[in-house]
Structure formats: C-alpha cells, structure tokens
Amino acid sequence: MTSSRTPADRRLLRDAAAIAAAMVAVGASFGAITIAYDLPTWVPFAMSTLVFAGGAQFLAVGLIAAGNPVAAIFAGLLLNARHLPFGLTVSEVIGPRLRDRLIGSHLMTDEVVAFTLAEQDPSRRRRTYWLIGVTLFTFWNIGTLLGVLLGGAAGDPATLGLDAAFPAGLIALILPSLRDRTTRRVALSGAAIAVLLTPVVPAGLPVLCALAGLAAVFLPSRRRKDP
C-alpha cells in the first residue's frame, strides 16, 4: 500500500483485522480436522494454498476421508460454482492486466466480493479487493498451520461463536445495498429460495438457485399506490 492512509483506509484495515482473526480460528479448525481424519500433513496446506475456498475445503476433506475422492471433486466444484457470477461482477475491479487477473482470481472469496461491493468508489473498490484478498489468503494459511500444529487443541470454532460471526459480517456488508428496493426484493427472495432448498438438494445448489431471485426485478415496481 502507498504512503498516506485516509480514515477510510484505517477503517478498512480494522475491518480486515476482524475478519482475519476469525479466519485464523476457522483455518485452524480446518487444519486440525484434516489431521484428525488421518490425512497426510501436506494435505491441509495444499488445500489452503491451492484451493483456497473454506466451505469446499471442509466438504472435500470429509469426503476424501470417507474414501470418496470423486464426490469430493464434484461437491467442491458445485459449491464453488458461485464464483463464476462473482468473477463476472468483480472483473472490472480487478482490472484489465492479465497478471492482476491471474492473481486476483485466486484471491476471490465470498468475503472479498462482499467487502468490494460494499464500496462505491471504483479506486476504493480496487484497493479493498486486493487488501482484503491478500489479508484473507495470508491469515487463512496461518490458521491452517496453527491447526496442524495444535491438532485437537485448536478447538471448535462454534465454541467461540464464529459460525455466527461470518453470516453476520456478510449481512452487515450487503445491508446498505438493501436500501434499494429492487436489490432488497432480489436478495430476500434469493435467500428464501436457498433456505427452502437446503434440506432437499446437494450443498452448493441452493445458493446457486438463489439467482432465481433475480426474477423479482421484473415484478411491477409500483404495485403500492398508497403513499
């Protein structure tokens, strides 16, 4: 990062630190679980550096440990399919240079996309994408290392309430955009579709089906006549 830090930068760094701390704890539980499954020590590191997608990593090591590598690949890729529309959306933010695109794509996560879209100004969006992306990649891997070293002592992230921290953080980031009525309709119907489908279809698919919430765009916008 370059010389002068604005108040907006300091706020961003503080937010990044909060999410990074949570990332370390969840990364540690990933490292510890992988070792508890009796998988080789290099597995969590290969996953956290090369795959770098929390949900898919947990899902995949579980299926690999259960002796079903093909299912691990399909389930992991299905869970990560949402990154295609994310990529379309943040493409402009990452910029036109091939090198930026090759590296920036690997840093793409739900949190990075949410932080980026929460910014309005294009240059701030770019700064946010890279700062949050690099921070999360770094601390996810530090967490993984700690988990491998600590093993069972790494603890369960649920004890710390971290399973509530991540959804709350994501909602906090998209909340301002929900002031727009169309966005609110699309987001709420998408979320409802996903929750209803979760018990009946495989992991990953419910969230993709949330895209059907886009149909709400075509609802009549002036149905309410009363003031």
């Binding site: 691990a72 890729l77 529309p85 959306t89 004890t159 309430g161 959804p167 998209i174 699309v186 998408g190």
Partner: protein, 102 residues
C-alpha cells in the same frame, strides 16, 4: 490419488474464478444483463449468509447461531462498525452455548 484429487479441485475452482473474470470482456453482455450482475452477486451473498445462519447441513442450526447473527444484523442496521457487528454476533452465540442453548 489424493494429490490428483486436490489438484483437480484446485484447478477446477481456479478456472471457475478466472472464467468469470475473463468472460466479462470476451462476451458482449447487453446493458440489461450488466445491470443485473451486482444484483446477482448480492442475491448469492444473501443466500450464503442466510443459509449459513439458519442451517447446519440439511437441518436447522439451532438457536444460538441464528440469535447471534440476529444481534449482529440489528447492530449493523443501527450502523455500528463492522468489527462490533462481528464480535457481538460471535459473543452472543458463544454465551448462549455456554448457557446450554443449542
């Protein structure tokens, strides 16, 4: 076999990510579709957050987690800083669990 599994998952995930980023320029999207993209991303993020808040696998996640998320969302709605939102959500559900709430 183990290494191959991880490599395929990693390459597949990377190509999905890169695919979206590169496709944006390669394909001429009409304006109407371009305007839908941020909406699509918000719908996906909302769906992720709400399913993560309410569900554990195919079942309901219990009380402690949704309650923590709700506290966080209320604070975010009152425009408290992100750090406060995240910590309050975690502390709420951790304390509820400590008190024996599932």
């Amino acid at each position: 076999m183990l290494l191959a599994t991880i490599i395929v998952l990693a390459v597949g995930t990377y190509l999905i990510r890169l695919g979206g980023v590169l496709l944006r320029d390669r394909v001429e999207f009409p304006d109407s579709v371009q305007r839908l993209l941020p909406l699509a991303a918000t719908a996906l993020l909302a769906a992720l957050a709400v399913t993560a808040a309410l569900m554990e696998g195919a079942a309901f996640a219990g009380v402690a987690r949704p309650a923590g998320v709700l506290v966080g969302v209320l604070l975010a709605w009152r425009r408290l800083p992100f750090v406060v939102v995240v910590i309050a959500a975690a502390v709420t559900s951790a304390l509820l669990r400590l008190a024996g709430v599932p």
